[in-house]
């Protein structure tokens, strides 16, 4: 499936924030996790009500409670935790208003009422079909409530991974392929590990190590990049090793 282009929100500070629509696989995963949690809550509440109130009133409470859980679980979590149910949180998803703002109770309610239609004929057939064709991968409930499920997970922190962008002789897809071809897996892992740990090295040791490694690869790969320091060369190579195409 093609990945959706981001929807762009312009903040009052004139900064563009991109909302990256979440893919269907992840969303389905989140729904499955939430579904299992709902089933767990229902089973538990049934036990508790029967235990404390007996078969008569306990059953009435149980019917009301399961209704509230089935219809209220998503709305409660989405409103209380800023658009994240437990399943969405685990998979790094969040529901937001179409303008990038938090969703309101009403929006959450509407998108979750329409869930009954999205679920038809079974396992989100209709919702999935609509989401495949929608530019922002929205299901019917999202279309009606003007909401959007976005991806919001970028796990790495920068200081741990300060790889510079690639340019010149190290940039471009062709150069990237060439580099990858000539660097073994072990070498690539070594370069990444070195870049990650450089901060923790003693200054002198860091300089010497980088000079040695950088010199080695200048020679091995025949790179003509005099403008890069040895450390920057190492980081650039590490960047090439992890860069997604």
């Amino acid at each position: 499936m093609r990945s959706a282009p981001a929807r762009i929100v312009l903040t009052p500070e004139h900064v563009e924030i991109r909302l990256e629509p979440a893919g269907l696989g992840r969303r389905f995963g989140a729904v499955v996790i939430d579904g299992l949690l709902i089933l767990g809550i229902l089973a538990l509440s049934q036990k508790v009500f029967l235990l404390f109130f007996g078969a008569g009133i306990g059953k009435a409470l149980q019917a009301t409670a399961s209704f509230l859980v089935i219809w209220g679980y998503h709305v409660f979590n989405e409103v209380r935790f800023q658009g994240r149910t437990p399943g969405k949180r685990m998979l790094g998803l969040r529901v937001v208003d179409g303008r990038g703002l938090p969703l309101t109770v009403q929006q959450s309610f509407v998108r979750n009422v329409v869930r009954v239609l999205d679920f038809l004929p079974l396992l989100y057939g209709l919702g999935g079909f609509v989401a495949l064709w929608d530019r922002d991968h929205r299901r019917l409930g999202d279309l009606v409530a003007d909401t959007l499920v976005v991806r919001e997970d970028v796990p790495w922190s920068f200081v741990r991974l300060p790889f510079p962008p690639l340019d010149g002789e190290l940039g471009g897809p062709a150069a990237l392929r060439r580099l990858r071809h000539r660097l073994s897996l072990e070498e690539r892992e070594f370069l990444v590990a070195l870049s990650l740990r450089a901060d923790r090295l003693d200054d002198r040791a860091r300089f010497d190590l980088m000079a040695e490694v950088g010199g080695h690869y200048r020679e091995k790969l025949g790179l003509q990049v005099p403008h890069l320091s040895d450390e920057n060369l190492v980081r650039a190579l590490a960047s090439a090793a992890v860069k997604r195409e």
Binding site: G56, I57, A63, F67, Q107, V116, D146, F163
Partner: protein, 332 residues
Amino acid sequence: MSTEVERFLVDGERRWSRLGVLLDRAEAEPARELGRQGMQELVQLYRATASDLNRARSLTADPEILGRLNALAGRAYRYVYRGRPGGRRVSWARFLTGEVPAAFRRNAAVVWLAAAAFTAGALFGFGAVLWQPKAAVDLVPAQFYSESPRDRVAEIEAKEERISKVEEAAVFGAELYTHNIQVSFLALALAALTLVGGLWVLWYNGVILGAVAASYLVAGEGTFFVAWVGPHGALELPAIVFAGAAGLALGRALLLPGELSRAESVRRAFPDLWRMIVGVALILVCAGLIEGSFSQFSAKTVPYPLKIAVAALLFASLLFVLFVRRRPEGES
């Protein structure tokens, strides 16, 4: 170039991780605000991060860097510009007695349309069965159909009361209202997305009611039917019509937005939609409780004229509260 990016990242890291920490705290405890200082700090960090995002875009195209900054700025933006929760506090009593009826009155047109679809269906079903009693087999789903209404009435009146304890009534009532609310939600969703689909659900439910009513009338058991369905039906049937009407109001905003953008048009419809839905759910809870208890009594316990009188009273009160009585300050 690359050293510049590195410096930028090292400079910004403390800011960004602090903003992340503040946002985590704010999201974990939305009810407890961050406090004046925390809020000021968050807004400052948000502004700084937003400008960092702009700067990062000019410095690099690295998806990891831009992705994380973008996600962070987006989260902070949502928090800083979020709507004030409950900007206008209204008491529950005021909400239920003032705002909910006002929402129904404002949307009288779609309520009439939904009621018309339901009534037309009921008349069709009623007429079809009066004219051709055999038609009931085709019109009525199996669970509502009985070969001979007269036998069924005799059977119910001869046996002991179906509901004899409060507990049984509670169980049955809870099952009924949860089921009815779900049917209403379905009508709402279908009406919102297709308009016509919602009208069809209403029409079809009307047909079933009309056909069943006619088959009891033909069998000479009209009084039984009204006494049996009336007490809860007086609330339940209007509630399903109202749910359909709420769906039609949303569908009109969604499919026929006029000069507004679709999103804006839908947003404007939300507050009234919300009030109507809360109204529908409450009516259905009452109806379910009545259906689970009072409606199930046969003539041995409660005379049928009394049951019919109660039904008429409930229906009249519902219409009075929603459409006739106006509190001077109730309109907003």
